[in-house]
């Protein structure tokens, strides 16, 4: 019997394949549904019907970046909330979330699954620059919209070879410019030390900052990087302290943000103005450090912080909090990432409403022609705008300072496109 094992396995495999083909050939169903007639004739209607719309999302639910996975919960809560109210233009949303573990090959696999097996209307939100870069060629070739990717790399807006892909959040260069402008006003001769994560996010922000302060009195006098696999950044912080800078620009992700804030607080001999980037500005990052240790820290944001009592009576934030309790009870509504998910999902809702044709082409065009679209979760004064020559929906941020137990907005929202012009390619 043992001698024939190989033969039996081969025979079984053949039988399985034949059965599969007998039932239905999975190929040849590439022909997508197309719209019937009228102005929208010939456009793709895969994944959308009169009653339903199917969206896919690829997030890191496991692995080193899994802290961001909760964004999918915020977005999913929004879609469930909207479905209960009848859906988007009468269409109920089916939101399929897949895990890529922040690994590009997995992202490719999941994107293909979503497009070919699940036949989604759009791949809404791929998270992280590596995953997005790994799949955008494929999605553009397949003519599947990839709207509002969850990464702030500027390349999504400066590139013109991928019309089906577009970013959403203010890109890292825009954020850097906001800080540059703030320093130009508040500390025109600042000496800046920078701690940054050694990846596309950190480098993009640092590069944008350097470009924005070029030619001004502000100088970057020290820079230290760290890897996501490093246990701590205390050594880098000690090196930065030696530089004698009077401003610290903290370009980190949550855990390392906490470590850097704590290290700064502990070092009583060095008291720079501590600017922390938006990704690490959530109260969940500040709380472990101790609120009393982060007084005066500056950051910038573009959407309402659900932990901020200022918005407690805000109707959108109230809706969000209730929806989170109802649809995602194990997620923390005060977590800024969930609010981000809600904000981007509601932005997509606006874009879907604005579609001229209920087709993939319709969505692609709608996201590229947003005219000062207001979204409930965004700060007053922050709207989405895109158009010819502008592929960045959000470019406005407002500064905030930590005082007492919460962030307090100050100044006016800064439209970086107005102040600095479009990001360079």
């Amino acid at each position: 019997m043992r001698k024939t094992t190989a033969l039996r396995v081969a025979a079984a495999a053949t039988a399985a394949l034949l059965t599969a083909t007998a039932c239905s050939s999975r190929r040849g169903q590439d022909a997508q549904d197309t719209a019937a007639g009228g102005a929208c004739k010939g456009q793709q209607t895969t994944g959308i019907t009169d009653k339903t719309i199917k969206l896919g999302g690829i997030y890191p639910l496991s692995g080193p970046a899994s802290a961001y996975g909760t964004i999918s919960k915020g977005a999913a809560a929004y879609f469930k909330y909207v479905n209960d109210k009848g859906g988007i233009d009468g269409r109920k949303v089916q939101f399929i979330v897949r895990d890529d573990g922040y690994q590009p090959p997995k992202a490719v696999e999941e994107a293909r699954r979503l497009v070919e097996q699940e036949k989604v209307f759009a791949v809404f939100q791929t998270l992280g620059t590596p995953s997005t870069a790994a799949v955008w060629d494929y999605l553009n070739k397949q003519k599947v919209p990839q709207p509002f990717v969850a990464t702030g790399a500027s390349v999504w807006g400066t590139d013109d070879q991928h019309p089906w892909t577009i970013g959403w959040q203010p890109n890292y260069v825009a954020e850097a410019r906001v800080y540059a402008k703030y320093l130009q006003d508040a500390r025109p001769k600042a000496k800046v030390a920078v701690l940054y994560q050694n990846d596309d996010f950190g480098k993009d922000l640092l590069g944008g900052f350097k470009k924005a302060v070029a030619g001004s009195g502000i100088k970057v006098v020290a820079e230290e990087s760290y890897e996501v696999t490093d246990p701590s950044v205390s050594a880098q912080m000690a090196s930065l302290a030696r530089s004698g800078a009077d401003v610290l620009l903290n370009v980190t992700t949550p855990k390392f943000g906490s470590q850097a804030l704590a290290a700064d607080a502990k070092n009583t001999k060095w008291n720079p103005l501590h600017i922390v980037n938006n990704v690490a500005s959530s109260t969940a990052v500040l709380q472990p450090v101790g609120f009393k240790n982060v007084q005066g820290v500056v950051s910038a944001t573009y959407f309402k912080d659900p932990a901020d009592p200022q918005w407690a009576k805000d109707p959108e934030v109230k809706t969000y909090t209730n929806a989170m309790h109802k649809y995602a009870p194990d997620a923390d509504p005060a977590n800024q990432f969930n609010a981000y998910g809600w904000a981007v999902a509601s932005s997509l809702h606006q874009a879907l409403d604005a579609m001229k044709c209920p087709t993939r082409e319709g969505l692609r065009d709608a996201v590229r022609n947003l005219k000062k679209v207001k979204v409930g979760m965004l700060l007053p004064g922050v709207t989405m705008s895109t158009g010819h020559g502008d592929a960045f929906p959000l470019e406005t941020m407002q500064l905030m300072r930590f005082k007492g137990q919460r962030w307090q907005l100050f100044g006016k929202p800064v439209d970086t496109r107005k102040e600095f012009g479009p990001p360079a390619k």
Partner: protein, 382 residues
């Protein structure tokens, strides 16, 4: 029907059995891309290329008896070599394969030299620390590697005359390379080099006495296995079209080793089974438990190790052996040792048959399973 099966089961029927097996396997392998959806074909393609990497690791770990927790580094080297050639030097895809293979072979030779002095645990630690060190190094070499943003290159495109879709063409190319690689691995093992490796694995001093040059063969084992991993990396770049340092973290190395051991060390089909495990289990576990696929994956690895300490490839043989043991007491019973699991060395022969192509001679040592692979020096070795 019964007569056919019994007839096929005899020794005399070896040739027709082998021929039939090969024929059916080839039919399935070639026919699959025409019937499966493109993304399933893509998954199969990934399985094949991971199998190449695992076949190389198998040479080193399963047959060479050395532990490597850093094989992802060779995979990355191959992937980046290919990507850089395609991106900076604009060479065609085919030209990148021999360069990646040769380059990684040399790299493996280089590694093999210090590896000579390290055994078991220590080699594992050194290889692991190298795997941890590689992504930052890749980022530092930004002018060449594109830094943390990575490199995007053109994927393999089907030529017009083939009439195939992109995923089908990629599948066939990878299938061809994989088949060649697996054949090469098999032939290596049956050659003098392979036999020397096995001798070294089983008993170093005896092998040395018999005239096997330890240093040469251990280094060669590293070199060959690195070459295979490099080829797999090259294929990866062809198929995915994007490389970045964070795609090749130490997690990849650990996953490769886990996949190999789960698939079956020291067996010829182990790499294929292991590659399938590594590819499909995370996807399937996502469907089962949306919340934490890692939980299922880790649990499955542990479970497979309990049920089949020598890997899945040996499982049918072990199961059948265990069944045979329970038959009427004409067979000698072996009482399980109280504190040990049914130790794998209790059933050497039932493990042996894992379904390799029947053209192997029965005495082929390639199928005997791995003994304790590398041990830290202990005060006694009784």
């Amino acid at each position: 029907m019964n007569t056919i099966t019994t007839a096929l089961g005899t020794d005399r029927a070896r040739r027709p059995r082998a021929a039939l097996t090969v024929l059916l396997t080839a039919a399935v392998a070639v026919g699959a891309p025409f019937y499966l959806a493109p993304f399933q074909v893509f998954q199969l393609t990934m399985v094949l290329l991971y199998a190449v990497a695992l076949a190389g690791l198998n040479l080193l770990v399963g047959f060479g008896g050395q532990i490597s927790l850093g094989h992802g580094a060779f995979f990355a080297a191959g992937a980046y070599t290919t990507a850089v050639m395609l991106d900076r030097y604009d060479t065609g895809h085919l030209a990148t394969l021999p360069v990646a293979a040769a380059g990684c072979f040399l790299l493996g030779l280089g590694f093999g030299v210090p590896a000579l002095r390290l055994r078991g645990l220590y080699l594992a630690l050194v290889t692991l620390s190298f795997a941890v060190f590689l992504p930052p190094l890749l980022k530092r070499l930004e002018p060449v590697t594109g830094g943390s943003m990575g490199l995007t290159v053109d994927k393999l495109q089907p030529p017009a005359w083939s009439g195939l879709a992109e995923d089908q063409w990629m599948y066939f190319v990878v299938l061809a390379v994989t088949a060649v690689a697996l054949l090469l691995a098999r032939n290596l093992l049956r050659s003098r080099v392979g036999r020397a490796l096995l001798a070294v694995r089983d008993n170093e001093s005896a092998a040395e006495v018999m005239g096997v040059r330890l240093s040469l063969h251990k280094t060669l084992a590293f070199a060959w296995s690195a070459m295979f991993a490099g080829v797999a990396g090259c294929l990866y770049t062809w198929v995915i079209g994007f490389v970045s340092p964070d795609s090749f973290s130490f997690v990849l190395s650990i996953t490769l080793l886990a996949g190999l051991v789960v698939g079956g060390l020291g067996s010829l089909y182990g790499p294929l089974l292991g590659a399938a495990f590594v590819m499909y289990v995370p996807s399937v576990s996502q469907d089962l438990s949306e919340a934490a696929p890692g939980v299922v994956f880790g649990l499955l690895i542990i479970t497979v190790m309990f049920v089949a300490p020598t890997g899945l490839a040996g499982l049918p043989g072990r199961v059948l052996g265990a069944v045979a043991r329970r038959l009427p007491r004409t067979t000698t019973t072996r009482a399980p040792i109280p504190e040990a699991a049914p130790a794998p060395d209790a059933e050497p022969e039932s493990r042996a048959e894992s379904g390799p192509p029947v053209t192997l001679t029965p005495a082929d040592p390639a199928v005997v399973d791995a003994e304790p692979v590398g041990a830290p020096p202990r005060t006694e070795k009784e």
